[in-house]
Structure formats: C-alpha cells, structure tokens
C-alpha cells in the first residue's frame, strides 16, 4: 500500500487503528530475509478477528519459525473497502503493508458459514483470482482451516489447500513442503498431490463430485488422492505451542482479556453440537501449565481479566485445584477470572462461590430446550433441578440478571416444548421472588434468547431437515406471546432468514461455490452483521446460478452418501447414525468420562480410562 495514500485514508475511516498494526507484541520482520511470506486472514473485522485464539496461536507458531514471516489481515469494514477500491490499491497486511497478492501463502480461517462472502471479498480486494483453477504459480497459495472446513465443499473451488484439524500440528509440514516446491520448482499440481498424501490435508481440486439429477451422488478422488482426508490433532496440550506474548491491541476487542485455553474437546456428546464432535478427543492442559502460561500472558499484556476457556469449563478434571491455584497466583494483582461455558449442574455452585469476589455481570445459562423430553432428544444432560439450583444460588449470591439460551426447531419439537421454555422462565422468576425482599439484589431481568436450530454436518442431526422460515416465525411469535406475561423477561430471537442461509451452507455441496461468488458480486459481505445481511441478494444469487435452495432441505436416508463423507475427523458415521436413532427415541447417551461410547476417535484418553476401570 502506498504510504501517502494510506495516510490520507487513515484520516478518513472509522477506527483507523483497525488497519495500522503496530500493537504491542506484534511481530515485525524483514520479508526479504524469510523464505516464506504468509498472510493470515480473518474474514471479519479486526475486533472480532483479534479475539480469536486460533489466529493468535497460528501467528505465534509461524513467526517462531526462522524461515517464515506471518502477517495479519482482517476484513476491511465497508468504509475502508470503498477507500481501498477508490485508491486503486490492494488489501494489504497490517505489519508490512504488503498487498495480499504478493504473499507466498494466504490462509483463511472459516469460523462460521456467514463469513464466506468476506473471504471472496478479501481475495478480490487483495488482487487475487478467486478460483483455485485460475491461479497459476505466480499467485499465492490459498489455504483454509477452522471448524467449517469439515464441510468445506461450498467453498472448495476457492482453496488450493484445506487444513483439517489443528493448525499448530500441521503448519510446519506445509511450510517445509512449500519450500521444497519452490526450491525444486515443481508444478503446482505435483506440489498439491504430494501434500494430499499428508494426514490433515485435503486438496479439493483432486476430487470429482457427481450428481444424479438435483441430488448429490458421490465424490471420488483423482490421481490417487486418498479416499478420505483425515484430521490431525495435538496429543499433549502441555507440549503444544502457546503464545506467551500475545498481541495487545489498542482497540477494544469483543473478548478483551487473556484467553486461557484449559482443554480441548468435550465429552458431553450433545447431539446438536458440531464443536463437541469435531474437536474430539478430550485433551487437558495441566494446572501447572495453565498457571505458568497465565502468569506469562498477564505479565506480557497487562490485561486485567483472564478467561478460562474450553467447550465446557466445569468439566475440567482438576477444576478445584485450578481455581484455588488461580486465586493464589492472582491475589493482590487486581485481576479478575471468568469461567464461561459453565454447565448448569451441581458443580457450578462451587465455582460460583469461589468467584464470589468477582464482578457480577450476570449469569448465562444454556438449557437449549424447554422440556426434559427435548433435552433428552438432544442429549443435553441437564435437569430442571440443576437449573433451579443454579439460579437459586445466583440470586442468593448477588446476581439479579440471568441470560437463558434456547434453540427453536430442534428435532421432534412440538409447541408443548416451546411452552415449556416459558414455564422454565416462570420458574426462574419464582426463584428470584422466593428470596426475601430485603436480601434480593437489584431488579430482576431475565433475557431469553432463542436461535434457530441449524443442523450441521458431522453431527447426529445431519439427517434432520431444518424447519421452514414460516415455522420459525410462528414459533417465535408463540413464545413471544407466552413470555410477555412474565414480568422481568425480555425476549430476543435470531433472524430466521440468516439461519436458513447458514443451514444451506452447513450441509451444502460444491455447487454452492458459484452462489457464494455471485452473492459476493451482488454486494453480499459481513452477512453475520444484521445491518449488512441482505436475504434478497442471496435469493437472487441462487436464482441467477440456477440453483434451487430447497434442494438443501430434502431428507437424506441414513445410508445415503453425503457431500462431506470423504472428510473424516475421527468419529464414525455409524456412531452418528446410532446417536440419531437414539435421539428420536429420546434415549440419552452418557458422558464419555463415565465410559467410552465407541465414537471411533483414535487415541482418546477416555478409551484408556474405560479399559482401566473395567
């Protein structure tokens, strides 16, 4: 980016420090001294992207190498996008202000489906041809990773390389192979072919997709590419790389605190949850490692808050030791600890008490479904008693605000289940008023949020067809009416239109690449931001591509091939089928910590634990 032009642009745009870099602990290297120049792109605005732990980990891992310079790039907000276009320059990296098309490798993380048009937009703004087939050796290689790549088919035509699983494990291999390719001047095809043989790598261009009429038929590898591409993951979290000096942005982030990961994976087996399936197996960091990394991160940033994160923090096996150790480590240093993703069960009480001297912002609970019957269907193993106890404890410990999350449109849902949500909210209200008036804190506020359930690939609910938009809207109206009668309750709900588009892509196939490209041309971007989402443009894109969105809402038989069957993250299709059948009968599956359920994940610590017990 031309320096003078940039200076003028930065004087005009909103929040210019989104586009400058130069934060504490950001890495500056001379690009010409490094063999591999890597741009890590996050397809959302800076404050969202910098809150993402994975981005920070990969940035750190790549920059610790002595052959690679990794820089960052975020989606420019529309005001900046206009300025970049008008200036005739390209989207550039924050550190060295290099245009994206001058990098060796450009990597994207796909955190959710509604960021897809931002990926296309960033490629275009960076001066890079969007389709893999249109890029020769002179263009950067485009890589993707993140949870959405477990069904990357709707974006498959745009990426040269897809990373399945944890980037800190596989990034080194990719860099080494890339250097070899550059040294030996091998063809792009040969280089990709070689990479395809590595576990954790998926090369979409090496697979042909066949359709029967409107229906997906199957996907077949070409040129000897593997039948299934498997994910890779870190085994030992204590030995896994961790950024001890995380970047400290000037701008306030969405999550502006030290994010301390305490374990990966989840043993609960909630049937709607893609994260709970694809991040298996469970792998914990030791208390010792967590405390050491916490100290380093706080010393190197000055953050006043630390958040212990995982998919279900209450499940950490040494939680008591950890919380005690944290209090000891952090005493007298004016730092608060938060534990998000606590489940509503008996444990929660203990931790709430240990956090008693902390900020009481409010309690967030996710029962997900209103009735016990439906919670059994989705395998969310919490009971009404758990919830009652949690809110009772909260209200007696100084909380007066509770957020409750539910999903509408879960499999087998009836209006009785939705009515049960309102009943649950009344119960929460009653718990508050049970506390003697003089002991109550503040004014009761119950925020009820419902999202529209989106069946995701690689979950037991991948065989479920999402509710129609009319169904969702009817259900939202119904619940709104019921909640109106409850004093102190506020109701928020997700836009059914966004959820429908998300559902198409979550279980979509490769034909959708054309739709994403067309939607981007029509001006779709920042689709996860309600002020930018434009359903009509999306529908126009489908129409112009000759694709009927309804074909993605057809029932699939259990043994039918699915567009993502060739991507494996370890859990078998057989296990998912079994879980789907159990869910329809309302039969729950217990936590893997109480015994292995045979999901198929290799090297899972729960297998060993079960063997030992028997």
């Amino acid at each position: 980016m031309n320096k003078d032009k940039l200076e003028i642009i930065l004087q005009t745009v909103e929040k210019p420090s989104r586009y400058t870099g130069g934060e504490l602990n950001s890495v500056y290297k001379n690009p010409s001294e490094y063999a591999v120049h890597f741009a890590f792109c996050f397809p959302d605005v800076y404050e969202v992207g910098m809150s993402h732990l994975g981005t920070r980990i990969i940035y750190d891992v790549l920059n610790k190498r002595n052959d690679t310079f990794c820089e960052r790039c975020f989606a420019p907000w529309p005001d900046m996008e206009d300025m970049i276009r008008d200036s005739g320059e390209e989207l550039y990296s924050l550190e060295s202000k290099t245009p994206l098309n001058e990098f060796d490798i450009v990597g994207f993380t796909l955190q959710h489906e509604m960021s897809y048009t931002n990926v296309i937009n960033m490629l275009k703004l960076g001066g890079i041809p969007i389709y893999s087939k249109d890029r020769d050796g002179s263009s950067p290689l485009i890589i993707a990773g993140g949870p959405c790549v477990f069904n990357v088919e709707p974006m498959a035509d745009f990426f040269d390389i897809v990373v399945l699983g944890e980037g800190e494990y596989i990034s080194g291999t990719i860099i080494e192979k890339y250097k070899e390719h550059k040294d030996k001047k091998t063809s792009k095809h040969d280089f990709l072919m070689g990479l395809a043989m590595e576990k954790g790598i998926y090369i979409p261009s090496l697979y042909d997709v066949k359709y029967t009429g409107e229906k997906f038929h199957n996907i077949v590898p070409k040129d000897g590419a593997p039948l299934t591409a498997e994910k890779v993951f870190v085994r030992d979290m204590d030995a896994s790389p961790w950024p001890e000096k995380p970047i400290l942005p000037f701008l306030q982030l969405v999550h502006d605190r030290v994010t301390m990961e305490i374990f990966r994976g989840c043993t609960r087996g909630c049937r709607f949850c893609q994260a709970g399936m694809i991040y298996r197996p469970i792998r914990e960091k030791s208390v010792e490692t967590i405390l050491k990394q916490t100290r380093e991160n706080l010393d190197n940033t000055g953050y006043e808050e630390i958040s212990l994160t995982s998919l279900s923090s209450g499940d950490y096996s040494q939680l008591k030791e950890l919380v005690l150790g944290m209090h000891e480590e952090l005493k007298d240093c004016h730092t608060s600890i938060s534990l998000p993703s606590l489940r509503l069960d008996a444990h929660a009480k203990e931790y709430m008490e240990s956090l008693e001297n902390q900020r009481k912002a409010g309690l967030t609970l996710a029962p997900e479904a209103g009735s016990q019957r439906l919670r059994d269907v989705i395998n969310k193993n919490v009971t009404e008693e758990d919830l009652t106890e949690s809110v009772h404890n909260a209200f007696s410990n100084g909380y007066s605000s509770v957020k409750l999350y539910f999903m509408l449109g879960l499999p087998t849902e009836t209006y009785d289940d939705i009515e049960a949500i309102a009943r649950l909210v009344s119960m929460v209200r009653d718990e508050y008023y049970k506390i003697p008036k003089e002991e109550r804190f503040g004014r009761l506020r119950i925020v009820v949020s419902t999202s529209c359930f989106i069946p995701k690939a690689h979950t037991p609910f991948q065989w479920y067809v999402q509710d129609s938009m009319d169904d969702f809207m009817e259900k939202q109206r119904f619940l709104k009416d019921k909640l109106k009668q409850i004093k102190g309750a506020v109701y928020n709900y997700h836009d059914a239109k966004v959820s429908r588009i998300e559902a198409i892509f979550a279980k979509g196939d490769r034909r959708l690449c054309a739709v994403v490209a067309r939607a981007s041309e029509l001006g779709c971007r920042f689709d996860s931001w309600s002020e930018h989402f434009d359903y009509d443009k999306w529908m126009l894109a489908f129409k112009e591509c000759g694709i009927d969105p309804d074909i993605y809402f057809q029932l699939n038989e259990l043994d039918e091939p699915l567009p993502w069957d060739h991507i494996s993250y370890g859990v078998t299709k057989k296990f998912l089928q079994k879980e789907w059948k159990l869910s329809l009968q309302g039969i729950t599956t217990q936590d893997c910590r109480d015994g292995c359920r045979g999901c198929g994940i290799p090297d899972c610590p729960m297998i060993k634990q079960t063997e030992k017990r028997n």
């Binding site: 130069g22 400290l248 000037f250 940033t301 004016h334």
Partner: protein, 226 residues
C-alpha cells in the same frame, strides 16, 4: 505521591483514539511493575488521568498523564520502567513528582503549542495567509455543534502564529486550550482555507498559566519559583 509523565505519540500510534490510549496506558503501568496506586472500591483500577485528549491522526511530543505511586521510585527509574514495556509509537520523554499545590492536569491546561506542516501550497501564499491571520483582529470560523453550524470567534485564542524559522512550509501556533477556551489547529487551518488532508499536525507541548505567563506542564515537577 503524584507523578506526571510527558510522553510522545508518533508513527502509527497517532491513529489510536484517546479512549484506547487510556486503556493502553493502564495496561502499560500494570506491566511496568511500578507500585502504582489503585482506586478503592469494588472494581479497582489505576487512578490515571490525562491532561488533554488528542485528535486521532495527530502526532504529539507533549502528552501528559498523571498517576500516583505508593512508594518512592526515582524519576529516571519510572521513565525506564515505563519505556521498557510501553506500546510501540509511545515514549515517555520525562517524568517527575508534583506537589498537591497543583490542581489536576486537566484543569491546569491553558495553552497548546503546535506545528503544522502544510503541503501543496506555494510558500509565498502560505506566508501571506499567516500574516493575514496575525494581523487580523477578529476571525470567524464555522463550527459544528450539537445544534448545527455556528460561527465562532477564534482570533483571541490565537496567542501566536508564525512560520517556523527553519522550514517555510511549517506553521507554528500557540493556541488557547482547556476548559475556558479551546482552539484547535484545525479551526485555524479552516480560517486559512487549508484542507485537513494537506496538513500534518503535531502537538509540541501543553502549558499551564501562572500570573499571565505560560509554562510547560512538565515544569510543575520543579520547585515552584514563579
């Protein structure tokens, strides 16, 4: 023990907003390991105040912040500890202790010294404009307020304006600042008919007033000898 720090804000840090500077400095002090004083109460934070906000995209060599220490540390060590951990683009130029005789930094501010480098205007024209401003007795500038646009008189707040001796494209200004009257260089530029994109603004220092004379805020650290 009240400490003031004079710091600069240059390079890409000029794009950091005042609110973000406040948060960044809180964290800088936390990293420094200095025995800083925290506020009492339920959510303790460092009691840290700033003399005057600075507009985004403006460089400065004379910003000030104030905090307290609970143990004595020599000014040299305070400066060294801050600079060891301060965010890129910021630099603690000097620091020292001030007595309680002084009010808060913010309420002491009376004047700012600025230099503005101007491009794209012939030097003769610029010199004429500076002279016109200097010779005027009244200058009305349109100012945007909450209620709409309003003309304000700024000449009285321009204490001095001249071309700098060593660069004919750079205007030196001393302008009223603080609660009573606040004249920004942008207002003066507007009076001169110069567009903002053609100007590079730098704040050199912030002053307080004592018996009709102006002194840099940093001189509060010396024993008073007015």
């Amino acid at each position: 023990m009240r400490v003031i720090v004079k710091y600069s804000k240059t390079n890409e840090a000029i794009y950091v907003s005042h609110l973000d500077v406040q948060r960044s400095m809180q964290r800088t002090l936390r990293r420094s390991g200095l025995p800083v004083k925290y506020t009492l109460g339920f959510h303790p934070h460092i009691a840290l105040t700033f003399a005057l906000p600075l507009s985004v995209a403006v460089e400065s060599f004379g910003e000030y912040m104030e905090f307290s220490l609970i143990d004595y540390v020599s000014p040299e060590i305070i400066k060294a500890k801050i600079n060891a951990v301060i965010a890129p683009g910021f630099y603690a130029e000097s620091c020292g202790y001030i007595s309680n005789e002084y009010h808060s930094l913010m309420s002491s501010v009376a004047m700012c010294e600025w230099v503005v480098k101007i491009k794209g205007i012939p030097q003769k024209e610029l010199a004429d404009e500076v002279k016109r401003i200097k010779d005027s007795t009244e200058l009305l500038v349109e100012k945007r307020t909450k209620k709409g646009f309003r003309d304000v008189e700024i000449r009285k707040g321009i204490y001095d304006i001249s071309l700098t001796a060593d660069a004919a494209d750079t205007v030196h200004m001393r302008l009223a600042a603080g609660g009573k009257e606040n004249i920004s260089p942008k207002m003066v530029l507007a009076a001169m008919g110069i567009e903002q994109k053609d100007a590079r603004i730098t704040r050199k220092d912030i002053y307080f007033e004592r018996e009709g004379k102006h002194y840099p805020l940093l001189s509060m650290c010396n024993k008073p000898n007015f």
